[in-house]
């Protein structure tokens, strides 16, 4: 019996969009991602997607203290990891390859 092949990391459309936005702007808050996506990301689901992507290692996050005059909870700011960048580029290359192959 052949050993089971390791599954390549998968990137959904939403995850791909998040990595794209994070690669463009380096670091963004969840709400900034929603605004930058122009309606393609929803405020209610973006945090769940971000949490899942953090588990997969595509992005990383840190807490940023709020301005002292405002107070409140520290905001979580996200950035893409090298793995996230590689997977994003690989998926984009695969998509472009498929598009070229089937466009003929």
């Amino acid at each position: 019996m052949s050993p089971r092949r390791a599954q390549p990391p998968r990137l959904s459309l939403k995850e791909s969009l998040i990595v794209e936005l994070l690669l463009r702007d380096t670091e963004l808050y969840g709400l900034q991602l929603v605004n930058a996506s122009r309606g393609r990301l929803k405020r209610g689901t973006v945090y769940v997607t971000l949490g899942r992507m953090e588990d997969k290692g595509f992005i990383t996050s840190r807490e940023e203290a709020p301005p002292p005059e405002e107070g409140g909870l520290p905001r979580r700011i996200y950035r893409a990891t090298p793995l996230g960048r590689h997977v994003y580029e690989a998926w984009n290359m695969a998509a472009a390859h498929m598009a070229m192959r089937y466009a003929r």
Binding site: Y29, G30, L31, K42, R43, G44, T45, Y47, V48, L50, G51, E54, S61, P66, E70, G71, G72, L73, P74, R75, R76
Partner: protein, 346 residues
Amino acid sequence: MNRPGDRLRRLAEHVCSERMRTRLVEPALADLQAEYAEAQRRGSRWRTARSLAAGYLAIAKVLVLAACGSVVAHATNWDPAERRQARLGVWVATLAALLATVLIDANSLFRIHLAAAAGWTPDLDLVVRALLAAYLVPAVLPLSVPLGLAVGAGCTLHGAGRSCKLAIATGIVATVCSCAVFANMAWLTPESNQAFRELLITRLRPAVAFVPRGDNELTFSVLRRRLAEVRASGSRGEVRHFDTLYHGKLATSVATLPVVSVVLGLAFVRRWTRAGLMIAGVGVCAGYYAINATSLYAGSLELVSPVMAAWSANAACTLAAVYFVAVAGVTGWPGRLARRQQSFGR
């Protein structure tokens, strides 16, 4: 100063896990507070109200999605021992239901065979007998499915196998089976019963051209219509007869759930062996049908109302299940269960 979401955050500290709070709830709340502060700085009331509404809606969505995710993750995360136990239970339940179906089916066919052997009716060929047996199967399922599932539940939930996940899975399977048996009783059984009658009567009495439907060959909707008709014009006896029949069919069709609930309750309050619980499953099923038959007879004698006659077996099983769960709760079931789960996992 109280900021929007502060109370929600305090609530989340009690309700949510650390990971869920720091990864999902707090980022959403922090963004809400930042957006709210920004809107206030700009002095726009409409913008402030909008940011609050959108923020709270987003947090509600986050909580619902996270809760669903954790429930699914918890429900699908079975350890190997639980999987083994569940697989065995499914096999045993299927085998028991099949065996019961075959035995009850064979009993009916055997009576037809005896009548033919005694010369009262003409002998039937093998194809006709096979068809008759197939037509009887849907009518047998309301008996064999609760029996099979009760035995399967007894097999799954004995001894150290009593885990909450297995109990919940058994409950879900029982509910699904109840719905399936209800659909079977509502649409399939009346048709297959009628096909059985038509085939048998036309073979035994070839001169008969039309076989009218009997009471057991009526769907729920036809039965309800007939009940309304006899209520409008019929005698009191007829109304009682159709009322009992209608409710009796309804109650029997959902018998699986109360029967399995009793076995589930027993599994958690008694330290019986696997064989003991399986026998208890058979006993509970037999008890259900004994109570059902007795109460229907009492109903036919006008000792109890038709609804009570039809539903008393279901009510008795449900009460017994609630009693067992209450006893389990009083005797410290959750703690004991947790310890058992730990030992089961090792």
